[in-house]
Amino acid sequence: MGMRRLMAVTTLALAAVSAAEAFPRVRVGGVSGNFGYMRGGPGYWGSPYGYGFYDPFWYYGSFAHPGYFGSFAQGPGMGEVKLIGAPKDALVYVDNAYAGEVRKLKTMWLEPGVYNLEVRDGDRKFTRRIYVLSGKTLDLKATPTEVASTK
């Protein structure tokens, strides 16, 4: 107990900023900081080899440790929709709006919500009301088999 220390530490951690709700598995962190004042008194400094020395002096000083932290998040904000079995050149419609060809949309990321999905391949189509949840994958066997009505 030869060493007496007095340490005052103030920790400041600013809240983490979750800036990546829109895309999964990325989360931006925030900043942190440790500020303090240290004061130590006379004491004996030992060593495992059996010798040491007595330090008669007081020491004191301040320290500052600013930091930045990041994190690996598991909470994605969007849901994944996978189209299985659909021809590559079939057309994808989401809520009656053209979204693109299957070759580019085999995997889609959508905001949580309810959508009417349609895959059209010539005179055949696949329609489904889909329920997208954040962080979940919806595997859809989207082979167009229904006969599309001619308007």
């Binding site: 320290f63 500052a64 909470g75 949580p112 009301r129 949840l133």
Partner: protein, 208 residues
């Protein structure tokens, strides 16, 4: 139109068409029985079938597709709470979609954790002199699991509600799902009971 108003409008609009179309005849279901005022038919959905049909995780539930065929000229006051599942010495009533969605969202919101790294650079000064250093701290933060947002809860509720058997007067065949909270471990068979006025029937569900 504000999103909340739009969602409410969509909910009301969808409510009119909720449930499933009843199959052409009661015999199209694996089990059926006839009571005083209606024929009740049912189909216990297998685990794979549930997984493929619902985005909402229903692994803790027995999902039964139920159809009710009122007898000619009769109208049945249908209430889902009149149904019960009996098995393993327990009697279980169906749970409404809102409760299931709430439970799932709250549970998902509680779980999950982040591994947080705190790289820091430091500088110290004092009577001993001045020095600098770098360090890394490791901590644990909290993150949300899948389907944990209020929006997810609304989507789950909408999905379950749109496919559920609806309460109300039924003068023609109606069908929809009932969700029974049995837990992960399911029995090999259950009795589905329906008691409503002078109709008191029981159907044996097996095969899952």
């Amino acid at each position: 139109m504000r999103p909340a108003t739009l969602l409410l409008f969509i909910s009301f609009a969808a409510a009119a068409n909720n449930g499933l179309p009843a199959r052409p005849a009661p015999s199209d279901y694996p089990v059926q029985t006839t009571g005083t005022s209606a024929t009740v038919a049912a189909d216990w959905m297998g685990a794979d079938q549930v997984k493929g049909s619902f985005s909402t995780d229903l692994s803790d539930y027995v999902v039964v597709e139920v159809a009710l065929y009122p007898k000619d000229g009769k109208s049945v006051d249908l209430t889902t709470i009149d149904f019960a599942l009996r098995g393993d010495g327990r009697m279980i009533r169906p749970v409404d979609p809102r409760s299931i969605a709430n439970i799932h969202q709250k549970r998902a919101n509680k779980r999950g954790s982040d591994l947080v790294l705190y790289p820091t650079v430091g500088m110290s000064t004092g009577t001993w002199g001045t020095g600098g250093g770098v360090g890394v701290g490791v901590g644990q933060g909290r993150s949300r699991g899948p389907a944990s947002t209020p929006r997810d809860r609304d989507v789950m509720e909408m999905e379950l509600e749109e496919k559920a058997l609806q309460d109300g007067q039924a003068a023609k065949p109606v069908a929809g799902y009932l969700y029974f909270p049995v837990g992960k471990k399911k029995a090999a068979g259950y009795d589905l009971e329906y008691q409503n006025g002078d109709t008191d029937v029981k159907l044996r569900l097996t095969g899952n």
